[in-house]
């Protein structure tokens, strides 16, 4: 099993003959003998994958890194956090995946935020199985617990990922209509209840 080691804004991966999948273009340096090749959209093979590719656009493209040595990955000086999965499902905004270990299965849905359209053409990825996922975020990730006692409300731009048995609903945010001028700020927020964890970033996308 390759070791994923996050060092603030860089992910170092030590490979001993195995391979990992990483966001295309994220390699900044490597030592040893490493091969890089295209790994497609990460959502199964064949026609289904081709369809997803066309619909989701370029929102997730992966490359496979195989060999013996160390690969250093980074993207846009974003923070890197490693999440361990133990036979479970992690739902992530596709563009925030930096790397996944082999054995994890990826499935891509072409609407972001689990079906909520934010008009940004995002895609959501579900990562299933046992292994490690390296996530990107603008500022360090804050994991928030969700339980029967405390549901949580999250700004859509701050949402990174979630795991567990969660229900997501939209709640109206501020009465933004009274605002003049541009700037982001979704007119709604996301409410999560159930049992699990929601990962947020202290910034907008």
């Amino acid at each position: 099993m390759p070791t994923l080691h996050a060092d603030k804004k860089v992910l170092h991966v030590d490979l001993m003959g195995e391979s990992i999948r990483a966001a295309q273009g994220s390699m900044v340096a490597y030592t040893g003998n490493i091969e890089f090749k295209n790994a497609g959209m990460g959502g199964g093979g064949g026609l289904r994958a081709a369809l997803k590719q066309r619909i989701a656009g370029e929102s997730i493209s992966l490359m496979e890194c195989t060999g013996q040595g160390r690969v250093s990955l980074a993207q846009n000086a974003d923070d890197v956090t490693v999440v361990d999965l133990g036979n479970e499902v992690l739902t992530v905004e596709s563009e925030l995946i930096l790397a996944v270990t082999a054995g994890l299965q990826l499935d891509v849905k072409f609407t972001g935020l689990q079906g909520v359209s934010t008009g940004q053409g995002l895609a959501t990825t579900t990562v299933t199985g046992t292994g490690q996922v390296a996530l990107l975020s603008h500022g360090p990730i804050i994991p928030l617990e969700v339980s029967g006692q405390y549901p949580v409300v999250v700004d859509p731009d701050a949402y990174v990922a979630s795991r567990g048995q969660l229900n997501m609903s939209m709640v109206s945010g501020v009465s933004w209509r009274s605002f003049v001028g541009e700037g982001s700020g979704e007119p709604f927020s996301l409410r999560f209840d159930g049992q699990g964890v929601v990962y947020i970033q202290p910034a907008e996308r």
Partner: protein
């Protein structure tokens, strides 16, 4: 590896969660900028300040700054409210019957006990009274004491010091004219003008940033051009367009 998971009990009360986010223990009202809310637990409502202003005169009194009022929201209720600003560093400041002037674009939130006023120095606001406020910065804030000269882009704010005066580096200007440096009469690089502080107090600085969009500042400066005669306004417009084009090169 993943850090600890937070819940409403374990989230800090009026303290940073990490360098880029702050957890407010809300029990009443706070003014926050639109877009500052990242997440919250509990029962909290958010309303634009403008919606309040007519109904509640006291909000209008707190906000005697029409230029900035459009960017603000009142958060009201009970719970833990997590605030952030585009991944910038967040710091909280506690005033005890004091005052602190801060760059308006960097002010993120303040509790309703404080009063906000527009500063004489364009682009800055002054907070007065006793309470907590939050400001964001590009990298950790640097505190220095006067006497000090600060680059206008790097200046974040000041406390207890008299308002700064503008210092023009006369020697730089002379030499640059002699050396025929391009843009000698404009703002070539930034070293030719600084804000000069003397006296006692604290000055807050940050690594100068690419100019962040400050809509309120634009409204402020635009309103000041009312002083110009029409043809002067046209000339100014042309110079501004040329500057924008040069910056894009």
């Amino acid at each position: 590896m993943m850090e600890q998971t937070y819940n409403p009990m374990t989230l800090p009360s009026n303290d940073n969660v990490n360098a880029y986010s702050f957890s407010v223990d809300l029990n009443g009202q706070w003014f926050i900028t639109k877009g500052a809310m990242i997440a919250y637990y509990g029962n909290i409502t958010f309303q634009a300040v403008t919606a309040f202003a007519s109904a509640q005169a006291w909000v209008a009194a707190k906000f005697s700054s029409p230029v900035y009022i459009h960017d603000w929201v009142v958060a009201e209720g009970q719970g833990k409210l997590i605030l952030g600003d585009r991944g910038f560093d967040i710091n909280s400041y506690t005033l005890e019957d004091g005052n602190l002037t801060i760059k308006a674009n960097n002010l993120l939130a303040f509790d309703s006990n404080l009063e906000l006023k527009q500063s004489i120095v364009p682009g800055f606001v002054t907070l007065i009274g006793s309470g907590i406020f939050l400001a964001s910065s590009n990298g950790p804030v640097i505190f220095v004491e006067p006497p000090f000269r600060a680059d206008p882009e790097a200046l974040l704010g000041w406390a207890d010091v008299p308002s700064p005066s503008v210092h023009h580096d006369a020697e730089w200007m002379t030499r640059s004219i002699m050396a025929s440096v391009q843009g000698a009469f404009g703002r070539a690089s930034g070293e030719e003008k600084q804000y000069d502080f003397t006296g006692q107090g604290t000055i807050l600085l940050q690594s100068s940033e690419a100019v962040r969009r400050d809509n309120a500042l634009m409204r402020l400066v635009e309103s000041q051009t009312d002083l110009l005669a029409p043809h002067q306004a046209g000339q100014l417009g042309q110079r501004l367009v040329a500057r924008a084009q040069q910056a894009n090169q």
